[in-house]
Subunit: 336 residues, 2 copies
């Protein structure tokens, strides 16, 4: 199958190397996270821990820590900014799940189904405010500027996405605008804030920002591709969630465009109106793979991973740079 | 009627004097507000303007501007912080209305009923992030610290309130804790941030913070009293909304405590279970007024207004101080 080949042809990559290198820093970030989500109002840590303990890869704070290290930093400020980044991310997940009515998050029942949507909204607000308290403690105004802007851009991206939900006429440009705002902006800001905390030059900070942005795009595009994962057995992920929710992502958009009017009735019914049968996802996947849309999406993800790596060229070779390169490859080669 | 007498016996006060004094500054704040709620995502300004155009008194930014002026400031920073304060306030209103399922806000249909709860949540996030962008522009870290903390405390207060909704066994202490966090904290932070923007000494900043905190408590307590407004014709407000929503406020709590077990079946049914008939509010109001709970609440509001004014004693007499004193009196004497 083309899609499987496309995956296999890429360098495998890994997040492990960077995670091992950053293990001590990330333990410090974890301590800050646990400490700062405490509150005398007991619902707050209970709800927040439900989501934060569920793990996830903590890629965004890892990026802050690694960018700070690559830029020669080793202070407490980088750890605080990393914890703040994770809080901002967690706040957006809580609000996202309310907005989308999602039932699962990180393999667990979504918080709003346990504590109610109102609590999820308000605990998201708490985490967002806590993130800013942490940032203020660093005293690094430029980092505050970067992360305040990112928070605003994410909200804009979410509203844009919401206003175009189930829109099968979405342009590729608007789709890329949405994922750049929703996903890539926080990756970019996480890396840039780390660089800034280490006192990196504007040029180096900008390079790490561009690295983060491209990494975020690679991750998101690969995620979108995995949902149509060619063969579930090859890609190791429960496929089809995006399609069943009527989410319009690049593989689908490319298939819609490439197949023209031939399948427009099918997309109209299954995506725009979300009137689906069990067999529809299999058909959609066949159309997406057959049109080469899965491969094209993975190719674009691969291009962004390469662009991310290229941004590291100006930094001295060494384990941190190697780790960030391997992370970029991992974004596209990972199977879940 | 006792309640009406209690109102009439107080100095009338007014927000007008301060509003006139601050008119030019507030025009600058308005300009910033209009400018900064723009976004290429058109739903955002549409939804935000719906709420912000609806007016409200803009008391919180007025407080920031007036505190800055009283402390001798006259820069752009105070205006930016004032706009940020209004954005934070608006964000909490948007999220509050989703959380409470409110149908009206400032006399207009609540935004979430027009644009949907998801948009209200996300536009609230946008405004919150925009507030931080504005604060960062001032470069005043101490102001960022004050307002980040306030945002966190507000969220804690909201969650606490949510977890104790319709709880007729709520203690007076917990009720005061909730309104201190939900309402008074932003008044306190608004005034303190204004003082800090003017380079006020720590003692003067603390005095203005205490002024704001007491003013906020006076306003909230008077609001809670107005809902049981003695006679609607005297107090000029549609009474009963809190009661009908089963909101447990001080007048109700005091009546519950003072009347003991005699009326416990009524409170249990009408407030805890919210099984109400049209006649219930009239009965509740009679009980609240009869128990002296309305007057006691207004007295407590009056105490906080006096405490607010006392905090101004260390400042040179003049129009700004006079205006802030009149505003404190207005908090309790106003009729809507």
């Amino acid at each position: 199958m083309d899609a499987a080949k496309a995956v296999i042809a890429r360098p495998p990559g890994s997040a492990d190397r960077l995670m091992r290198l950053a293990a001590r820093d990330m333990a410090g970030v974890d301590e800050l996270i646990v400490e700062r989500l405490q509150s005398p109002v007991s619902v707050i840590p209970a709800l927040a821990e439900h989501l934060i303990d569920a793990g996830g890869k903590r890629l965004r704070p890892l990026l802050t820590v690694a960018a700070a290290r690559l830029a020669g930093g080793q202070g407490e400020a980088g750890l605080k900014l990393a914890a703040a980044v994770e809080f901002i991310h967690t706040a957006t997940l809580l609000h996202d799940d309310v907005v989308d009515g999602s039932r699962l998050r990180r393999g667990k029942v979504a918080a709003h189904l346990i504590w109610g949507a109102p609590s999820s909204v308000l605990v998201g607000d708490f985490l967002f405010a806590r993130a800013f308290e942490l940032m203020v403690e660093t005293g690094i105004l430029r980092a505050l500027e970067i992360l305040a802007r990112a928070s605003r851009v994410i909200a804009e991206g979410e509203v844009l996405q919401l206003s175009r939900a189930h829109d099968i006429d979405l342009s590729q440009a608007t789709y890329l605008e949405i994922i750049t705002a929703k996903t890539a902006e926080l990756f970019a800001a996480a890396a840039e804030a780390g660089a800034v905390s280490a006192g990196a030059s504007p040029a180096r900070s900008a390079a790490l920002r561009a690295y983060g942005r491209n990494l975020g795009l690679a991750f998101q595009l690969a995620d979108d591709a995995l949902d149509y994962g060619g063969a579930t057995e090859t890609l190791g992920k429960n496929a089809g969630d995006d399609f069943r929710e009527g989410k319009v992502t690049l593989p689908l958009l490319l298939a819609i465009t490439r197949l023209g009017t031939r399948e427009s009735g099918f997309w109209e019914r299954a995506v725009a109106r979300r009137e689906q049968t069990d067999a529809d996802f299999r058909r959609a996947r066949e159309l997406v793979v057959g049109a080469g849309a899965l491969e094209a999406t993975l190719d674009l993800a691969g291009d962004h991973a390469e662009a991310a790596k290229a941004e590291l060229a100006g930094f001295a070779p060494g384990p941190w740079r190697d780790g960030l390169e391997a992370l970029a490859d991992f974004a596209v080669s990972r199977r879940a």
